[in-house]
Symmetry: C2
Subunit: 477 residues, 2 copies
Amino acid sequence: MAEEHGALPPKDDFSGWYNEILWRAEIMDVRYPVKGLYVWYPFGFALRRNVYTLLRDLMDRDHQEALFPLLIPENEFAKEAEHIKGFEEEVYWVTHGGTSPLDVKLALRPTSECAIYPMYSLWVRSHADLPVRIYQIVNTFRYETKHTRPLIRLREITSFKEAHTVHATWEEAQAQVEEAVRLYVEFYDALSVPVIFSRRPDWDKFPGADYTMAADTIMPDGRTLQVGTAHHLGDHFSKTFEITYEDISGEQQFCFQTCYGISERSVAALISLHGDDRGLVLPPALAPVQVAIVPIMIGKRGAEVEAAARDLETALKSAGLRVRLDTRDMRPGAKYYYWEMRGVPLRIEIGPRDLDSSQVTAVTRLGEKTTIPLDSICDGVASRLTEFGSTLRARADDHVRSRIRICGSTGAVRSAVERGVAVVPWCGGRECADRIEEETGAAILGTGVQSPFIEPEEGRCIVCGREGGTTLVGRAY
Amino acid sequence: MAEEHGALPPKDDFSGWYNEILWRAEIMDVRYPVKGLYVWYPFGFALRRNVYTLLRDLMDRDHQEALFPLLIPENEFAKEAEHIKGFEEEVYWVTHGGTSPLDVKLALRPTSECAIYPMYSLWVRSHADLPVRIYQIVNTFRYETKHTRPLIRLREITSFKEAHTVHATWEEAQAQVEEAVRLYVEFYDALSVPVIFSRRPDWDKFPGADYTMAADTIMPDGRTLQVGTAHHLGDHFSKTFEITYEDISGEQQFCFQTCYGISERSVAALISLHGDDRGLVLPPALAPVQVAIVPIMIGKRGAEVEAAARDLETALKSAGLRVRLDTRDMRPGAKYYYWEMRGVPLRIEIGPRDLDSSQVTAVTRLGEKTTIPLDSICDGVASRLTEFGSTLRARADDHVRSRIRICGSTGAVRSAVERGVAVVPWCGGRECADRIEEETGAAILGTGVQSPFIEPEEGRCIVCGREGGTTLVGRAY
């Protein structure tokens, strides 16, 4: 449904590439007539569905899915002082129903603490009710005044997965944050998107949290994208919303809470890390179409080829693959272009000569060409898809690894963050952070870095020389 | 998480029963602090998930899922005159972002024509793009001033499945409306909820439609619940939003459109039709828990019984069933009550005596008790579930059939609508409709009635005696 003309900008021009690929591959249409709101094309939505099905499956292991209202009354929203301060400039307000002004203004949830916790206050009674682990996948809203960007900085976040847990002790909530980090690492692993977890500095934590853990990935332009967060909420919200439980000795105690979220930025990272100059490149596990069959119907044997292509489609579908047979009246080259743009992992070409030798030609999205005998077609396709998935994984690892630099001075940091992130020892002091940020144009992203590519190492703070922990520095989206 | 005390009101007091069962069975929590907004408990959400997975599977056959923004700018919303007139009293308006007033007010979609059709205007270019068949499952909003009721009359409809199609001709759009009716009949068939389709009278059609087909079911109190609609939109919206295509001869033509929707009223109908004085009764295909295993762990053989119950759980799960083993420290009777309230189709009791005779005791939600030998447990459970599903189906059919009365006078209608619907010949004239409605306290629901329980029959209008078609009359929710 998108019109195709001109070429995709090269990925080296990442910003240009990103904006163009979204509509050329029919992920998002940016032409909706309100700034910061975008439309998921069916193809994009199919990709979103696969990503979120995976996320749901992970969450369902020990969470329950529920659904809370979008609209939060002003009085509930204003209850937690830090929280409201953090969000008041970003909240959309509903003030009228029909032609009448409302008695109480309603906020469109920017996140759901104030919608969920009044209910938790009713639901949690006794230690036997704990832990509570509930999540929902919903639309949330931020009145962004900065430059908006599809999937990355939105006014309607269409796909916010937010989990909210309740525990008896601070330590149990801490353990839940660690479990959230493990879950998110597993999730991004399945997307072949390497992430770096770190603990955000205090001035950058979630409004109302004790501390915030965040996952960043490194985009092709070297800037970091925050793709997940997990917050230890302490007992701030439970005191505000009166979430208490009766302990074993019959005493009322305040609960401890966590929340953690992932949004459609996961799809942005997936697209950005794997794509290339010719379009999307999708991991087989997530691709809406895993195999595109293009019959080469030339000359007299057209009908014979088409019949063979249909048999192939049936066989691969029966094997559980997502297959599309492309019999449109177009040149094969145009079809190749079309399916490459949409990131289809494997293209199968079948023509008269292939029929004669009882085989097909298989071309991966990265251009590797082999033949597969028809009598072992399902195994042949499956093994090529598996191999392709591993290749993508290794490629993404290489990209992220190559963008991480261990630095010993602000000068080194300044050059490292031009194309990725820097890892430095930092003492934790605000003054040193300000110095680092001023001299490098980058931000302290977090401490206690967790990544297979980074060795945690104590050292001397690059500003003051006091002892410092492994700290991530980068320019964030 | 809901507190249980007191008893469920008898279903004969339907309104009392409905309000109570929603929280007792943990479907919805009505205590959210805004009128008309409710919370899906995890158990309720699991039921919703099963219902909507089924709906998605049906739609996916020849529709594509997409996702459009919630917020509609006032100028787009006001474009179609009939449409805005139909909705202006019910729309929530966002007027502020943060502390600043917005330049253009934004409506929370009451339905998505005005969000989707500006995009269709960009997407549809040529006859080759047609038909377009897209759906989305979203939250929509109505500022209801009438009495609100969970799942039935809401201010946030959390689960609106709306399909929007585009066609080259009026007749193709008409055929699509017929296809939508078929799809919805199939959907409600899978829920074992009998529906009656009819064509709404002109004064009750969707604002901006040529005509509206609607599905009604008959609730336990005899009132009808509209549980689905399909609208032929003609070219009203395509003219407003300039949705045109180039036909084969190169001329620009206006498109013809349809839209059709189903909401969480589907879940309300499911709950209401099947439930009884002891709680929910759920069709096995949709029940979040299909089998509850209650081990009777008395005396010395407790460990042995529990081990056998765990084996049973594993075996039934491997067979693909949704099973819950209930080892809570509670009396068996309390567990029976708990699972009955939640509509679990089959309860399996296993105690020392069962072990001795290598069998279990199986009790359906309607109280039918049998034994199943352990060595054919999976087949035994599967056949009881299938049988139970058929029983529910027959029971629901009986209910609806018994509530339909063919009537020949307004007097007969008046008495019929006390406990269900009346079917009468009506000439189609507004005056006769007004007379019928005045004299019976019920409404003309629609003409051209489609139901396996109703023979379409021409006759003489019960008011004026002119020729009339089969018309449904009832008191609607």
